[in-house]
Amino acid sequence: MLTYDLEADGLRGLNSSLQRQTIDTNQNNWEVVNPKGSHAIAVGLNAEIEVTVRGSTGYYCGGMNQQALIHVEGSVGPGVAENMMSGVIIVDGDASQYAGATGHGGLLVVKGNASSRCGISMKGIDIVVHGNIGHMSAFMAQAGNLVVCGDAGEALGDSLYEARLFVRGSVKSLGADCIEKGIRPEHTALLQDLLERAESDAKPADFKRYGSARQLYNFDVDRNMTY
């Protein structure tokens, strides 16, 4: 395993080193020490490497990740895994706002809680939160799956498109055009897979599914107060 001391050697050196790794790299395992809440750690990666961050990070950890497995042994600031395309990001602690924002693919696992706007505008990413999520999560979420093993805050799934939301606990309120939907066998299988990959022992049968009522997809004057 290669060790990179972020405090001593700086952010630019870390990201350029990680971004240089390609498909045939033999430098597959990295650890980052002394992250001390720094921003933009391990962003723009595009190789099947494993990066372990020994501590907590600031904004945008793992931003736009492709292929890499990034494991944060701490909590993360706003925008973890923003616009992730593929790969896996695991956060042992909590995540601040906008976790997984606009992500197109891959899997984000938050083993603690996630703050507001988790999964905002998600476009295909899978997100599993072991704890609770904050208000306005999955706002304008387009595609992908958001799995919440705890509770969800206010206005879940407001202005939702085609993303699927699964919540085991309570939902404080649903946002505009977001409704509860039934769990079909394919959803159970999907949940089972995601929960296993996220190392959660939650049972698919305990979840409810929420999705778009698709009533805001084309303008209707009689619904104008919900836009």
């Binding site: 952010l11 630019r12 990201n15 350029s16 971004q19 921003h39 933009a40 962003v43 723009g44 595009n46 600031g58 904004y59 945008y60 931003g63 736009m64 492709q66 706003p78 925008g79 923003e82 616009n83 395309m85 706002q97 906008y98 924002a101 606009t102 197109h104 706007r117 905002i120 505008s121 476009k123 295909g124 706002f139 304008m140 387009q142 595609a143 202005s159 498109y161 085609e162 997809y217 084309n218 303008f219 004057v221 009689d222 104008n224």
Partner: protein, 444 residues
Amino acid sequence: MDSKIPRTVPIQSATFTQEVNAEIRRAAATGIYDIRGGGAKRRVPHFDDLLFLGASVSRYPLEGYRERCDTSVTLGTRFAKFPIELDIPITIAGMSFGALSGQAKEALGRGASAAGTSTTTGDGGMTPEERGHSTKLVYQYLPSRYGMSPNDLRKADAIEVVVGQGAKPGGGGMLLGQKISDRVADMRTLPKGIDQRSACRHPDWTGPDDLEIKLLELREITNWEVPIYVKVGGTRPYFDTALAVKAGADVVVLDGMQGGTAATQDVFIEHVGIPTLAVIRPAVRALQDLGVHREVQLIVSGGIRNGADVAKAMALGADAVAIGTAALIALGDNDPKWEAEYQKLGSTAGAYDDWHEGLDPAGITTQNPELAARLDPVDAGRRLRNYLKVMTLEAQTIARACGHNDLRNLEPEDLCALTVEAAAMAQVPLAGTEWYPGKPGTGY
């Protein structure tokens, strides 16, 4: 009734005009606000309210056609490893594939490249055709992040973080279902045929402190190679420019209210934001106060039509301008040859702005394959190149007449204003005087 008694002539209200009344009736019938494309149509203080003074006894001109007048500009010299070098200071503003046909985007790329300048993507991401036909391509980073890919980000020659635009500062986007074709839907990860909404603010940052961190992330992902622009709509240009600089922008793009949009509420276009003329001097003052004028370049857009507009914007302190609506007209938008079809759509050439409906007879603001095929991207690209060349020649003509051998040597002292309002906004004297409102030392 005695016909010999003079009658009161019917008087149309200056407030309830025929257009206003028609809009009230339309709103009452439909229950929805008017949506349209383009920028503000109302008369506002404008570059037309400024004049160049030209050479005189105190200044001598340069010989037209004989003495050099440079037009090149370098954008992104502050932090980027590879700033953008443009032959002319006129760039093509961001317009999306989706709002425009693939042919129109290709034509923009061809025309801009032939003229030695850049073009810009829009909401919805980068198409291979657009990248392929654009020598220099600026990639817009928008709140929606539709089609946003780090791979495309790295193909760009610059990144433009869009905070707002002049037609709708504070507003999001709208692409009605008629224009969400299979390809557009796929690029934006949306169901076909739905009304696509774009958020009004970015999903993962708010405020200038966050923006600074966002720019850091974008630079880290692109290896600090390409310039990062920050585009804002014209509202509070002094503070927006200062905050963009503080956040780390290489280039600030300021878009006045005449700047176009693909589709927005008419009430938004006409009533939010300030004129292009009014944004430049406060922005330049912010750059000067921070000691970065010319180090951080300023691009101004919104209603630029000809070389005189270019020269006036640059004289007020801009490093370059961007055009959108004018470029579309050069391609063939609103051409009178389609008048019969405009009439069928309830409009007329020059006034057609229902770009969101996807029925553009000129084949530019549409995703209808048959309509889009009407635009030959090679011919249209040539027209755009010609137009850009003419604008540049016009600006050079004016600069030489003012005694300058570089367009960026134009200065406010070359200008005077025709109206008090323009004098106040541009901070140049009213013609024939040495006075403008707010001039230091004048007491008013």
